[in-house]
């Protein structure tokens, strides 16, 4: 097992090197390959762990890939690879020549940090990786140097920094209560600790902080600005992966550190899960409503992320095995679907400088592949069968029934109706208006931008039809976590 992980070490060093496209591509590709090679191992033995510098936990820093971590890692590498390929041509048009190496450096940095975040089992490392990807993403939002970008980045930075500090504070609380930083060790020590109030305050702080990171409803205000103003591959990265890190944070804290069946805090735990579930439900509805009234394509997609994150968190906090499997599946579905939508929006900006939805009239005729990819990904976001988004919603609904939460059934269905409104409006403008522009031939984006977009959109379909590739394991993972 240490050997398997030692092979992963090149990632750590990767970001330091001089960055340019082929080099970063190589780095990301190697990393992806290594991560994917772990798939079999984790499935077989459940967990791959490696103790950095040979110290045993709880003293040393441990890296531990459980199923959740592996899922995220695979997603990060897969989607990250696509986005990187896309950026090659795109980024030239949106940022200044001399900043391009910075872009790739930051890209690799955020990539590495997210991987580290997913697989670490040490709370403090958790924090450090979180800070790395947060700071990098502030920089990535601001990279174009536009007025609006700076403003959005600063807003993002303030909220992000406050939430990071809250996480650190919470970690300190936990440390003072348990004297450990290893997640599993904390989890076992919490069972016998005398400092329950401290631990419960820490839990609340954690959840509040990660709610900001994952843009849950009342604290989502930074997201629409930051995601819509960043260069499109960055928007895709932020929406598809970075906010998932907030979700992963909530997940880790709720389940890995505190744990469902932990009696000492169960009432606090349950009420917090309930609060998160309701906040998620509000996110679903309000995010969709806000998306409907937007006229800028990227802001619309960004608000749609708020609503989709709501689905994920609702699924996770339903505390039912099916619901959790659905929530986790929506992580996959949303990562691919949303990345694809942002990439398509990016192609429109790249080719025609179009951001407004009304201006997309008839673009489906000149750019059929791009617009088709958008339509396919939109189907998944709405949850039309057979797409990955449908499978996710199906399981979330199932979870609602398992727990008898009928109010959430209505929320989920209403949410998908609302998302149908904003998605199909765009599809409508692209395909069914603006006819009769004679003499307009095909005018597609370059292949390196088109291919990742198309692959991601086909991916949503693929994971909708062949959901059995993931679902049984997700179900098992959920069952283990909830001890049901």
């Amino acid at each position: 097992m240490p050997l398997a992980f030692a092979a992963l070490c090149p990632i750590w060093g990767m970001w330091r090197r001089k960055a340019c496209f082929p080099w970063s591509l190589l780095g990301v590709a190697i990393t992806s390959f290594l991560v994917w090679s772990l798939i079999g191992k984790v499935n077989a033995s459940k967990v791959v762990a490696y103790n950095v510098s040979g110290w045993r936990p709880p003293w040393g820093i441990q890296i531990r890939i459980d199923y959740m971590g592996l899922l995220m890692a695979c997603l990060i590498t897969g989607v990250g690879l696509m986005l990187l390929i896309y950026s090659w041509r795109y980024i030239v048009s949106e940022i200044k020549e001399e900043r391009i190496p910075y872009y790739y450096t930051l890209y690799l940095l955020i990539f590495t940090a997210m991987l580290g975040f997913s697989i670490t089992s040490d709370l403090f490392n958790f924090f450090v990786f979180m800070e790395i990807f947060s700071i990098t993403s502030y920089a990535l939002v601001a990279i174009s140097g536009e007025r609006m970008a700076l403003r959005a980045a600063f807003k993002y930075l303030l909220m992000g920094a406050i939430s990071s500090l809250t996480v650190l504070f919470a970690i300190a609380f936990l440390y003072s209560a348990t004297g450990s930083l290893n997640m599993l060790d904390i989890s076992s020590r919490l069972k016998s600790t005398a400092y329950l109030p401290v631990a419960s305050v820490a839990l609340i702080l954690f959840i509040a902080a990660f709610a900001v990171k994952s843009a849950l409803f009342p604290v989502h205000v930074w997201l629409p600005d930051a995601h819509s103003i960043a260069p499109s591959p960055v928007s895709a990265l932020l929406s598809a992966l970075v906010i998932k890190m907030g979700v992963l944070g909530i997940f880790r804290i709720l389940f890995t550190v505190y744990g469902h069946s932990f009696s000492g805090l169960s009432s606090t735990w349950n009420s917090i899960a309930g609060v998160v579930a309701w906040a998620a439900a509000l996110s679903i509805i309000l995010g969709s409503v806000m998306a409907i009234i937007q006229r800028d394509l990227k802001i619309m997609i960004a608000y749609s992320s708020v609503s989709q994150i709501g689905y994920i968190l609702l699924g996770i906090t339903l505390i039912s095995t099916r619901g959790m499997a659905g929530g986790l599946y929506n992580i996959v579905a949303h990562a691919m679907g949303k990345a694809c939508l942002f990439l398509v929006a990016g192609i429109f900006i790249y080719k025609h400088g179009l951001r407004r939805i009304e201006n997309l009239r008839g673009i489906g005729r000149t750019m059929p592949v791009t617009a088709g990819a958008f339509a396919l990904a939109a189907l998944s976001i709405v949850g039309v069968p057979p797409s990955a988004g449908f499978v996710a919603k199906w399981y979330i609904l199932w979870g609602c029934f398992q727990e008898g939460q009928y109010a959430f059934v209505i929320v989920v269905l209403l949410g998908s109706l609302l998302s149908a409104v904003y998605c199909f409006r765009v599809v409508y403008y692209m395909f069914f208006t603006g006819a009769g522009r004679p003499g307009v031939g095909l005018d597609e984006a370059p292949f390196t931008m088109l291919a990742p977009t198309a692959i991601l959109s086909v991916g949503t379909l693929f994971f909708g039809i062949f959901a059995t590739l993931l679902l049984p394991s997700l179900n098992n993972a959920a069952r283990v976590l909830l001890l049901k």
Partner: protein, 491 residues
């Protein structure tokens, strides 16, 4: 127990229409002839392939094919029983007629029209062939979405509004069906069609069953235009091009009815529905729809709008027949699927010719149109007589069976509904025939000008079917023989 064979045929059949797309896309601009040939060829090939399944359907053999397991316990799979075959063969015939017709009718955006019609054929077949509620739902939703481009084909303001209304109705209905589906799965444990009901009253409490049933009816009722869920129908039909209207009325409304049939026979089962006591309310809803929609139809002056309201009324015949829960009633209801498809299909195609040749949609302006378009109006009259239930047309057979069914179900008062409906049909169809033939207007008598052959032939065939199905009822291979097998297996 019926025999089961494995067969890849359904999947092949479903794939065939897709072949039309490369043809339409590649040759749509440069060689329209080739594109059309491929398009018609694919539709015809689909029809022929479906006919090869005829012997199995007559023997009650069920062909099954497992495609892919989407999630544990949830499969995409095909299962063609006699009912599915009946529906598939019917829709492929109607599709073939409208396909040929559309060659002459559709003059703009042919590529898009051909592509989406072909795709929809595939999805409709998917609904007919589905082996469980999940597969049915998948194809049903896809079909609903892909019908949208057909409805707004003209891209006029009216078409856009109608399209929007259609989308709102249909997507909401989709979400509602999804809710019902997940309830069925959660409480019943399976979504498969087994030829009998899979829900049972021993393990599931009655209120839950009632909720599942009503949610399903709400969902499918939108497509099957049960009042008051019919709102999109009178807008979508006139806005769509006529071959699409014929498809909407002839097939796509029936897909909603088909969903209800599956819910009735394969989810709940006849016995359970009888125990639940939901049949009578459904009968009243259907009767209400029949009468009120017919009354609405009388007040319409736009020809296609009148036909659309007539469709709303006629589809409820299916519902009426099924929920009589008696063998003859079921025969009547199932027959109505085919009979109405031919009658209303013909009517819409005729309306299309009238609009195409004269540009007139308002019935009051159609004075003497019978002398200008004699064959078209003759076909129109035959189909209209069928709608009224005149003997020797297929409409009569339906009404006869429905009447027998209501006596069998000890609910003879529904015969009154049938009679009243026939009367109302006469009230709104006879004036059209009268205006067309006997209210001469010298201005229009000048030209005797029929339309192109590609549009004429489907209309004539459709009208011929209306008569043939009314006279040679029991000939093997025609709807009656198939329906008989279906119903025998059920009761």
């Amino acid at each position: 127990m019926s025999k089961i064979v494995h067969s890849v045929l359904p999947a092949i059949i479903m794939a065939v229409p897709w072949l039309a797309i490369p043809g339409a896309v590649l040759w749509g601009k440069k060689r329209p002839g080739a594109a059309k040939a491929v398009y018609v060829g694919c539709t015809a090939a689909t029809f022929l392939l479906i006919t090869t399944m005829y012997p199995r359907a007559m023997d009650g053999v069920v062909s099954v094919q497992h495609l892919v397991e989407v999630a544990p316990g949830i499969n995409l799979a095909f299962r063609v029983d006699t009912l599915g075959f009946y529906f598939a063969i019917l829709l492929s015939v109607i599709w073939l007629l409208t396909t040929v017709y559309s060659l002459g009718y559709i003059r703009t955006r042919e590529t898009r029209y051909y592509c989406f019609t072909a795709i929809n054929l595939s999805f409709c077949l998917g609904v007919a062939f589905s082996a469980n509620m999940f597969t049915l739902f998948v194809f049903y939703e896809l079909m609903s979405l892909f019908t949208y481009p057909l409805i707004i084909h003209e891209e006029t303001e009216i078409a856009r509004r109608a399209g929007l209304k259609y989308l709102v109705y249909t997507i909401t209905a989709g979400a509602v069906i999804l809710a019902a589906l997940i309830m069925q799965y959660y409480y019943g444990g399976t979504l498969s069609f087994l030829g009998h009901g899979t829900l049972n009253s021993e393990t599931i409490s009655k209120p839950v069953l009632l909720i599942i049933f009503s949610v399903y009816m709400l969902g499918f009722g939108v497509k099957a235009c049960i009042m008051p869920l019919h709102g999109w129908v009178p807008d979508a039909h006139p806005a769509a091009p006529s071959p699409t209207s014929a498809l909407l009325s002839g097939v796509i409304l029936k897909v909603g009815a088909f969903g209800i049939i599956r819910v009735l026979f394969d989810v709940f089962g006849i016995k359970l529905l009888g125990d639940l006591g939901v049949a009578l309310p459904m009968l009243w809803v259907a009767s209400f729809t029949i009468i009120v929609a017919s009354l609405f139809a009388i007040t319409q002056n736009d020809l296609k709008r009148r036909l659309a309201y007539s469709s709303v009324a006629q589809v409820s015949y299916i519902i009426l027949g099924l929920f009589l829960l008696s063998p003859d009633g079921a025969i009547g209801g199932l027959l109505q699927i085919a009979h109405h498809a031919f009658m209303k299909g013909t009517l819409f195609l005729c309306a299309g010719i009238i609009i195409h040749e004269t540009g007139k949609r308002d019935i009051r302006e159609m004075n003497g149109i019978g002398s200008k378009l004699p064959i078209t109006m003759l076909a129109f009259s035959v189909a209209a007589l069928g709608m009224m239930g005149t003997p020797l047309t297929c409409g009569f057979i339906t009404k006869w069976e429905l009447g027998l069914g209501s006596i069998q179900a000890h609910r003879p008062y529904f015969i009154a509904v049938l009679l009243l409906s026939a009367l109302l049909n006469a009230v709104y169809f006879l004036p059209i025939i009268y205006i067309a033939f006997f209210k001469g207007d010298p201005m229009d008598k000048l030209l005797k000008h029929e339309t192109s052959r590609t549009m004429m032939v489907p209309v004539i065939i459709g009208a011929a079917f209306v008569v043939i199905l009314g006279i040679f009822v029991t000939v093997p291979g025609l709807p009656y023989s198939l329906v008989k097998i279906v119903v025998k297996a059920l009761f």
